[in-house]
Symmetry: C2
Subunit: 276 residues, 2 copies
């Protein structure tokens, strides 16, 4: 793993950093192919949005792009994580608006996901840990992730992902992914207006689905509605699209729509990379 | 500020530490008088509870007490903060149960609160930022504190504290304190079963009130009920007890019950310190 903290090679941050003290920050995780970060403009834009929502200064795409260049070249597939915190300062919880954010940019080898996850699908479970509802934080990929940690701690290796519901019982997302279902030709995914992460692969899938003429709905979805879905799949920027083969005891076929959307999202990213 | 990380003088933690990555940890803040940490046994017990709730290994009171001794002697009043994180390791959100927690123990000068806060009371406001409801995290003094950061960011110096309500509109606590009201001789404070922090000064106040023969109720409280309270006060282990003189436009007298409970809580702590 190679890490730059505020542009300088380092593995450490100050214990007083508000990211460490309060989880007072945001992050994003990119897939990089032969040195080209995929969906970079979207990732930077979401970081800027996250900073605005939390009242943090955004360091700017220029500085972050310079950090990415300073990471150096890497061949093949890698994962790049950009984490921004509110830095050091303020009194207790009170943030200083003029504070300098901390930038941590790191690159690590791409996880060796089994090919079967893509071709045969993955196994899902339902997590018991709920997601609290709070529109003030909904959508933001912030570093207050205890709910996801507790959700992920509910199983070991017997599943690839767990679905989390909000405290009212509606399905929101996986611990590390967004979730979609295909039902009678319509693509449906949970709203993320009250909790959950505004995933960029989620956004890309919604865009390519609409561009393909599919009906698309974001709405509140009950767990039992997933059982009658024709297809189910998970998304994030590192895994891409994982078809779901099983949710607890219910099994699903690997559907044509999932394959089509996954291929179009891939193609969209390859085309974007060519123009980088 | 003097800081020990895992018992060694240091100002830094690894960027891979789950405390920095996910806010995956807990903390407590103690008042120390002439080298004697007040309510230490309670603080250690709450840290052990927090670790158990989050499935983290508790490093043990022996090790933490050794850290406190290693901080060295300090005269007068100081603040000691103990932060425990799940340490480095795990895959993504998934925690390793056998992981070694990170211990950060730090001491800093006691804040110079104006005497008037204690004698004439403080000014409170209502925060717009809500607290999400999630029993899985309720009560734990964890390091997922973005809600408190956003709440505290709503005002500058015109108030000493802000009250936060849950997403159903019930009063829960201040951004950094618990809240009590006295009404017709009964002491009332919000339940912390769905969100909020299990404050130790809150617990001590409840104990001395019951020992004094007062009627005590923990219940759901609406903001408008505070307006008809006879007395209102705030607690945490650093501030002790702050009477509230004003909540937005409503004013309160500094009541006898507040003074009595504050004095008894002080006396309780002095007696405990003598037996340390």
């Amino acid at each position: 793993m190679r890490v730059l903290v505020n542009g300088v090679a380092s593995q450490g941050v100050d214990v007083r950093d508000r990211g460490f003290q309060y989880g007072d920050g945001i992050f994003t995780t990119l897939r990089s192919v032969d040195g080209q970060p995929r969906l970079l403009a979207w990732h930077l834009s979401r970081l800027a949005d996250g900073c605005a929502r939390l009242g943090m200064r955004y360091p700017g795409g220029g500085l972050l792009s310079a950090d990415l260049r300073a990471l150096g070249d890497a061949s093949g597939e890698n994962v790049i994580k950009i984490q921004l915190t509110r830095g050091i300062g303020g009194r207790g919880y009170r943030p200083l608006t003029e504070g300098e954010p901390t930038r941590v940019v790191s690159r690590y080898p791409f996880p060796a996901f089994p090919k079967a996850y893509y071709h045969s699908g993955v196994s899902l479970t339902h997590c018991r840990t709920p997601l609290g509802i709070n529109a003030a934080l909904a959508g933001i990929k912030h570093t207050n992730r205890l709910e996801q940690v507790l959700g992920r701690a509910e199983w070991a290796d017997e599943y690839q992902e767990g679905l989390m519901c909000d405290t009212e019982g509606f399905v929101v997302e996986g611990t590390m992914s967004n979730v979609f279902m295909v039902k009678s030709g319509t693509l449906e995914t949970p709203l993320i207006d009250r909790c959950g992460v505004n995933g960029l692969m989620r956004r890309l899938i919604l865009e390519v689905a609409q561009a393909s003429g599919m009906a698309v709905r974001e709405r509140r979805i009950r767990p039992n509605e997933l059982a009658s879905a024709d297809e189910l799949f998970l998304t994030n920027c590192v895994i891409g699209v994982w078809p779901v083969a099983r949710l607890d005891s219910k099994t699903y076929g690997i559907g044509e729509t999932t394959r089509m959307l996954s291929a179009r999202a891939d193609e969209w990213q390859r085309q974007e990379a060519r123009s980088w």
